[in-house]
């Protein structure tokens, strides 16, 4: 080992003197940190599929490693530093809560390119990327509004951050559009991944009379609970087809592969720049999973029409007239929400009775 290092450094020294561009032949090492286990069947699973897609696309030009189940907070900084010290030249941090840790570590390693999912803080070497999940929420909200018999739909939230609030609002607006009597119950579990708590949250919603619910947490536990109680739900982040055709009647799939392949390619050819990317249904980053036969054909057609209109850019899920929960005006007739407004969204729209956590 020692000898190899010695030879390696000697070779590097000689190469550095002979030809400065020698390093180009080396593999690009890429690191990933995940907030959950790769086997969560949801969020982290999808990121890992994209990592595998990168390996497949670039073959021996790249080498990837990942660290799974990294808690958000101080541990994230440690994990990121570890990846940086291990020689990774590009690092993907795949959870909102890794934001500050990513920026701190990026400051110490200016040569490494960082990609942070769903955050809003950027730097010279930190880019952010996100998916317009709310576009998908509009579609499944429509299905939920049509499918509920009790007129009560539920939402299991993780943390009250803009990304999740957008989803709740979008789902409610579109459920209400097709079913004016619909009521929305929201439960926050304050975790991205805690199967037992997610199952308890689903049970609490069902006990409140909810018969169709959506989730913004990472495990399949709520669907298992829905199956037991005869309620309906949607796959989240991943397709979760093992629960199809019912209780999983459709899903929102995060497809990160195109973005990861594009960005890794840019690092390889030297064109990578720090920027913010926010792609949706039209870019193929948010995919609506198969709508099963448990959903009537006309509802399915309605949902698919909405999906296609959003994909073509003909319709924005947040189009006025819309009011905030407290009754104050938000969007005038025909106006659409700007990306800045959406990325700071911290209020419910009018009609949602659940209190917004402070």
């Amino acid at each position: 080992m020692k000898r190899r290092t010695l030879l390696g450094s000697a070779a590097a020294l000689v190469a550095a003197m002979a030809a400065p561009a020698f390093g180009q032949d080396e593999k690009l090492k890429i690191g990933f940190i995940y907030v959950g286990p790769v086997g969560d069947g949801g969020w982290t699973y999808q990121h890992d599929l994209a990592r595998q897609a990168v390996e497949k696309e670039f073959g021996d030009k790249v080498e990837t490693t990942f660290i799974e189940s990294v808690p958000e907070g101080a541990d994230a900084e440690r994990a990121l530093t570890q990846l940086a010290l291990a020689g990774n030249k590009m690092i993907f941090a795949t959870s909102f809560g890794f934001m500050d840790a990513t920026l701190n570590v990026a400051k110490k390693f200016p040569d490494i390119k960082f990609e942070h999912a769903t955050g809003y803080k950027r730097a010279e070497n930190v880019a952010t990327y996100d998916a317009r999940f709310y576009e998908g929420r509009a579609v499944i909200g429509t299905i939920a509004g049509r499918m509920t018999k009790s007129n009560k739909i539920g939402y299991i939230g993780s943390f009250p951050i803009p990304e999740v609030v957008q989803g709740i609002n979008s789902a409610y607006i579109h459920a209400k559009k097709v079913n004016p009597n619909v009521e929305m119950k929201v439960v926050w579990v304050y975790s991205w991944f805690d199967p037992a708590k997610e199952a308890d949250a689903a049970a609490a919603l069902i006990a409140e009379g909810v018969d169709v619910f959506m989730q913004h947490t990472d495990s399949t536990a709520p669907l298992a609970k829905a199956q037991e109680a005869g309620a309906l739900g949607f796959g989240q982040a991943s397709d979760m087809t093992s629960f199809a055709p019912s209780p999983r009647i459709s899903s929102i799939v995060d497809n990160w592969s195109p973005y990861y392949i594009k960005r890794v390619g840019q690092v390889l050819d030297g064109t990578w720049k720090s920027e913010a990317t926010w792609a949706g249904i039209g870019d193929g980053e948010v995919v609506i999973g198969d709508i099963t036969e448990a959903v009537p054909a006309e509802v399915k057609a309605e949902a698919e029409t909405l999906r296609d209109k959003i994909a073509k850019g003909e319709y924005h899920p947040f189009t006025g007239p819309l009011k905030k929960q407290d009754g104050s005006d938000w969007l005038a007739e025909g106006a659409t929400a700007t990306d800045e407004e959406l990325s700071g969204m911290n209020f419910y729209v009018e009609g949602i009775t659940a209190p917004m956590p402070q």
């Binding site: 286990p37 086997g39 189940s69 409140e208 536990a221 609970k225 093992s242």
Partner: protein, 296 residues
């Protein structure tokens, strides 16, 4: 908005069952003078083994039996290291937790996305495991305080040198207690996978084992206190979710903190009582966490 208290109590009983099992097991282990911090590891081991067996046989009952055996198997690693090789109990217990989490992550892969068989129904709409958990409270209390083996176990836990001098087999008693703790933790873990979540997911116990350890301290090593603690911890979880679903503004962080604050409060009260001389000693077993090595 009104919330049906009976419905909340039913959900509470379910949420409390896994931690009740694990905490009762750990209580017996600690009363024998051993601190096993591997509860979380044994629970996750039981969760996977129980789920796998229930899935393979279609019988949740066999699942719980398998979970108990898995818990015992994992606890025996701890017993061998700490009782016979005299390793540090704290470090060994922590290692057992990490080992259990890693091992199940590896062997659990084929069970992801697989569904559990229907749970055994019991009287009053509560499943049999809830009843078994409740029944174990008086059983453990009676065995510890009203039987001779229970007296010996407590003697070993209070002062292992004295128990040894009296001719009691300290290591064998502790071995038995650790095995019991393993079986209970295993069944508690299996309750999460078979009855609560209805599937296997990596890392699914999500800290339940640590809550069980806190409850034992909260309960001051008393089985009835363990029941109260499990209901308190389970109740807070269920209640805050129910209140949210009903549209009530609840300070979730404060509620989630409450059981831990209660634990700290109990500890403060105990030490205050000791300081002002109203009680001779704390309820903690005298030899808790100390390795035993017979010199003669």
């Amino acid at each position: 908005m009104m919330i049906d208290p009976i419905a909340v109590f039913v959900l509470l009983l379910g949420a409390a069952t896994p931690i009740l099992f694990a905490a009762l097991g750990e209580l017996v282990v600690e009363r024998a003078g051993v601190l096993n911090l591997g509860v979380e590891g044994m629970m996750i081991g039981g969760a996977l083994a129980g789920f796998a067996a229930a899935h393979a046989t279609g019988s949740p009952a066999l699942g719980f039996v398998a979970a108990a055996f898995a818990g015992v198997a994992l606890s025996m690693i701890f017993a061998f290291l700490s009782l016979y090789l005299l390793s540090n109990q704290v470090a060994t217990g922590l290692a057992l937790t990490l080992f259990g989490l890693g091992l199940t992550a590896m062997f659990g892969k084929p069970y992801e996305g697989v569904k559990a068989p229907a749970m055994m129904a019991g009287p009053l709409g509560l499943n049999l495991m809830i009843w078994l958990g409740l029944a174990m409270v008086p059983v453990v209390w009676w065995a510890l305080t009203r039987t001779r083996p229970g007296l010996i176990l407590r003697a070993v836990g209070e002062n292992h040198d004295a128990a040894h001098a009296l001719g009691y087999p300290v290591r064998r008693v502790r071995l038995g207690a650790i095995a019991f703790g393993g079986a209970m933790a295993g069944m508690g873990g299996a309750y999460i996978s078979i009855a609560t979540v209805l599937q296997w997911t990596e890392g699914m116990t999500a800290g339940a084992g640590w809550i069980a350890l806190a409850i034992v301290v909260f309960a001051q090593w008393n089985p009835w206190g363990v029941l109260a603690g499990a209901w308190l911890f389970g109740g807070v979880t269920v209640l805050q979710l129910r209140l949210q679903a009903a549209g009530v503004a609840v300070p979730v962080q404060l509620l989630s903190m409450a059981p831990y604050l209660a634990t700290i409060l109990v500890l403060v009260l105990i030490s205050a009582r000791q300081k002002f001389g109203r009680s001779a000693g704390g309820a903690a077993p005298g030899s808790l966490g100390r390795p035993f090595h017979a010199l003669r």
